[in-house]
Amino acid sequence: MVNELNDETFAKNIAKGNVVVDFYADWCGPCQLMKPMFEKLAGEVKNITFFKVNVDKCQKAAQEHDVRSIPTFALFKNGEEIDQISGVISEGDFKKKLKAVFG
């Protein structure tokens, strides 16, 4: 289960610790494709908190983080955006990226 953030709850929830946010939309095929993998990782990886943001409902958060492509996965450490991953990516490559950023 990945919790959904909105424009009001976004800043507070990314402020502490290791956080990954999936910027997505319901009508986006690649977003739907990535969804099961993202939810699986959320259940497996313990040192990272996973959230999702619907860009249709939360345009402020998407704009503030320069999201112009979906799916985009933004990686935060204590509120600071460290990196972004855009598009469809394999589970192996996603894990490598998480390990490189969060250890």
Partner: protein, 326 residues
């Protein structure tokens, strides 16, 4: 396919006997259609796909697949996947990075370090999008340069965008964007669009699509995001064209690296050479869909080729003929 990657040997040794009669690499129209037929021939069937659904999942609307007046790409392919599974095919979400002949069988190595054996292989890996190779294109990818209008078009509400290419895909992208952006340019190197005539009519009706022919993009510029493109000939008196987004639809290249590893014969442009039964020059290796030297890259053609490939594999593995087949 990432054939150059070296696999780290898994602790487990490969199975002694093939676990599968058929391994299908690729999960688009061709791969999943092959899986439906292969499973119904009672062949133990595995589909390995890094992106189940294939390239069509990026399409917001599919209107030319018989049986559906209008369906999204992802929804259509979810139906394919569901049907393949219901017939008994297994689907593994993983990337096949190596295939080799292993005694009389084939051994497939995956990115997640699995080693799987089968008696026959069907390659249905499709194509990869051709990237724009001009200065700035890589730097601004996802920051103004895009390869999926369906996914990224929504970020350009009331903005100015351009689409590169003259194909059906370009026309579909331009039409989708015309409903979001205030102005859409189509930039094409040819003298006229090569899409279906009905799409040209639709584009004219929309009123905010301007076509610029005999023109190439030579550079992409911006600051934080893309803000202009440089053309190789002036348009409205300038080679600079101010755009907020650039959508690239310049075709695709066959994903045939796996086939090459197996010694499968390719055309000069990298497509797998197949005969009418979808056989390649390597016994036990079949291919179907857009990765082959097919004369028409369409979902329904790929699906039909998948069916033929599965039938050929069945015939080779069992010696049995199928009524109505060759």
């Amino acid at each position: 396919m990432k054939s150059e990657k070296k696999i780290v040997k898994a602790d487990k040794k490969p199975e002694e006997k093939p676990a599968y009669d058929v391994i299908i690499i690729g999960g688009g129209f061709a791969g999943l259609s092959a899986a439906i037929y292969s499973a119904r021939y009672n062949l133990k069937t595995l589909v390995i796909s890094k992106q189940p659904g294939g390239a069509i999942i990026n399409a917001a609307h599919v209107e030319n697949y018989p049986g559906y007046v209008n369906i999204s790409g992802i929804e259509l392919m979810q139906k394919f996947e569901e049907q393949a599974k219901s017939c008994g095919a297994e689907i593994l979400i993983d990337d096949a990075i190596g295939v080799m002949k292993h005694k009389e069988e084939f051994k497939v190595e995956t990115e997640q370090q699995k080693e799987l054996l089968s008696n026959a292989i069907i390659i249905a890996t499709g194509t990869d999008r051709r990237k724009l190779e001009v200065p700035g294109a890589k730097e601004y990818e996802s920051k103004g340069v895009h390869y999926c209008a369906t996914c990224d078009g929504a970020f350009y509400k009331n903005k100015v965008v351009a689409v590169i290419g003259g194909s059906n895909s370009s026309a579909h992208a331009a039409m989708l964007l015309s409903r979001i952006a205030k102005q859409v340019y189509i930039l094409y190197r040819g003298e006229e669009m090569r899409c279906e005539p009905i799409l040209c009519t639709h584009m004219e009706e929309l009123g905010n699509i301007k076509m610029i022919f005999n023109t190439n993009v030579v550079q992409v510029k911006g600051t934080k995001f893309l803000d202009k493109i440089i053309l190789d000939r002036p348009f409205d008196g300038s080679v600079e064209l101010a755009v907020d987004g650039l959508f690239v639809e310049i075709g695709s290249v066959p994903s045939s690296a796996i086939a090459k590893q197996l010694g499968v014969e390719l055309t000069q442009s990298g497509e797998i050479k197949v005969n009418i039964q979808q056989e390649t020059n390597v016994k036990g290796v079949f291919a179907a869909g857009d990765v082959t030297n097919t004369p028409l890259r369409q979902g329904i053609i790929a699906a039909a080729q998948g069916v033929k490939a599965a039938t050929s594999a069945y015939k080779m593995l069992t010696g049995k003929k199928v009524t109505g087949a060759w």
